[in-house]
């Protein structure tokens, strides 16, 4: 029997509906896991247990009553700590923000509350969602629940770790160059970056406003679909797609020519393509610009915009930044205006290129990470994983994209693959991913039994 903390959102909502489980009971199960596991995992940087219990009791009353039920009524959620939650600090993992307390909810948090979700606390990030996992910041970096010696991906590190470890069934992160999809890949869950601006960035501390996306981390694509429909009511309810109806474009050159992926990562991608083909999908190979062109454009825009946002603090309080963040922010100081404008120009060309691909295929399949999750004691290797990845194209172009589990590596770490679709086909993308997950079979969960 599935443990309650591993139930899908659909099953949890059904259990609420049938009154076999109350939101307050579910919340206590998650709080118990947080109290047992998070001192080693470091996923949460702030918890509001009293507030969450109060919200859960309100949700209990609604489920026990006869009135209409909000779409996420009683579902606990963790929020990346660059997103404002009223009454909670938004420290962005930085001494620069010490003492900050949000005076209002970000739009995404207000929407979650409107949908009845229970806001449990704030989740670890890199400093200002920038830089790397670092030990010179306010809090230690979150760790990977599959193996605490390994990085859970970033910058939505706490979100990935918390969902994978069953500390919360839903987390909200942000993705500027892959920061939702990276932890999802490294932790073996689903990280979904919707079409640009589908989810509001109001109340989110910006990293690079023209690239920043608010995203959803859940244990599977069906759960992400439930959340998307709740947060964006224009989206149609998601039914699993039928694989034989899907035209798939596989972009192999990203991980075979442009960058050379680890053999197990590449095998996982081929496993995915095989599953899709064997279930009747029309699979063809497609080509895009070299991956490093996308990466350079993403970084030119990101560093230029981030430098502008931080310019005053950099002048006044450089000592309050961590070393990796400082180095990343200073890159923008060395990028001239011509580079930024050139990058913006290519952005349009690249968007047209990917739009053209979607006139012939329904989804694109490509690598997410090129390596399995890195070790904390190999910082150079960890830094390399931030450049050796295939997530930046869809931040530049704004197409919806997600990471989904493929297999475990020989050393027991999760590997993933990326799916993308045409802009505003977010529901379709999630339905296709759900169909793949059904054909693939349930993804394993980490045991979180670290003491043995």
């Amino acid at each position: 029997m599935t443990e309650i903390e591993n139930l899908s959102l659909a099953d949890v909502l059904q259990a609420f509906r049938s009154r076999s489980l109350l939101p307050s009971e579910l919340l206590e199960i998650y709080i118990d896991r947080i109290e047992r596991l998070d001192s080693q995992l470091n996923a949460f940087v702030h918890l509001d247990l009293e507030g969450a219990r109060r919200q859960a009791l309100v949700a209990d009353a609604h489920w026990q009553g006869n009135g209409p039920k909000a779409s996420l009524l009683g579902i606990p959620v963790g929020i990346k700590d660059i997103i404002d939650v009223v009454g909670m600090p938004t420290l962005c993992q930085s001494a620069i923000r010490a003492g900050h307390v949000a005076t209002r909810d970000a739009a995404i948090v207000a929407k979650l509350r409107q949908c009845g979700a229970v806001i449990l606390g704030k989740l670890a990030t890199h400093e200002f969602a920038n830089g790397l996992p670092s030990f010179d910041l306010l809090s230690p970096p979150a760790r990977n629940p599959w193996n605490l010696d390994h990085h859970p991906g970033g910058s939505s590190s706490g979100a990935g770790a918390a969902v994978a470890a069953g500390l919360v069934p839903l987390a909200i992160g942000t993705d500027t160059g892959g920061s939702v999809r990276h932890p999802a890949t490294a932790c073996g869950i689903v990280g979904f970056k919707p079409t640009y601006e589908l989810l509001s960035r109001d109340g989110v501390f910006p990293l690079s406003p023209t690239l920043d996306h608010v995203g959803i981390l859940t244990r599977n694509a069906a759960d992400a679909g439930i959340v998307l429909c709740a947060l964006s009511p224009d989206e149609e309810p998601i039914a699993p797609g039928v694989i034989s109806d899907i035209r798939v474009g596989i972009v192999r050159h990203f991980h075979t020519n442009d960058l050379c992926a680890d053999a197990e990562v590449a095998s996982g991608i081929e496993d995915c393509v095989t599953i899709l083909a064997e279930n009747g999908a029309d699979v063809r190979e497609v080509s895009l610009s070299p991956l490093m062109d996308y990466f350079s454009v993403n970084r030119a825009i990101l560093h230029a915009e981030a430098f502008r946002i931080h310019a005053d603090w950099l002048k006044e309080r450089p000592q309050d930044y961590g070393r990796a963040t400082l180095e990343s922010l200073l890159v923008g100081a060395f990028l001239d205006e011509r580079s930024y404008k050139t990058a913006l120009g290519w952005r349009s060309t690249m968007a047209e290129e990917i739009d053209a691909v979607f006139s012939n295929v329904d989804i694109v399949v490509c690598a997410s990470a090129m390596e399995p999750p890195s070790r904390f004691d190999q910082p150079a290797e960890t830094a390399r994983t931030y450049t050796r990845q295939a997530r930046t194209p869809f931040n530049i172009t704004g197409h919806p994209a997600l990471s989904v589990f493929t297999r475990l590596s020989r050393s027991g770490l999760p590997l993933g693959v990326q799916f993308a679709a045409a802009r505003n086909r977010d529901s379709y993308l999630l339905a296709a991913a759900q169909a793949f997950e059904t054909a693939r079979g349930a993804a394993p969960r980490p045991s979180c039994d670290w003491t043995q």
């Binding site: 062109d293 350079s296 450089p318 070393r323 990028l335 001239d336």
Partner: protein, 62 residues
């Protein structure tokens, strides 16, 4: 978001800034190196596009 000419530093201004802040030279050099790699890659693509246009091909992958 629009970044105006004066918002973005030239390399000389960047060095002035980092010098004035007395930052770790290794951090400054690492940042500069990363910026140069980004600019180099973009210059290479621009060169490739100019070359493709001159020779009548649509792009370097088709």
């Amino acid at each position: 978001m629009k970044i105006s000419d004066r918002d973005l530093s030239t390399e000389a201004a960047a060095f002035d800034l980092t010098k004035a802040l007395d930052l770790d030279p290794q951090v400054v050099q690492a940042a500069r190196q990363r910026a140069l790699m980004i600019r180099q890659r973009m210059d290479d693509r621009a060169q490739s596009e100019r070359s493709s246009f001159k020779h009548g091909t649509s792009n370097d992958r088709d």
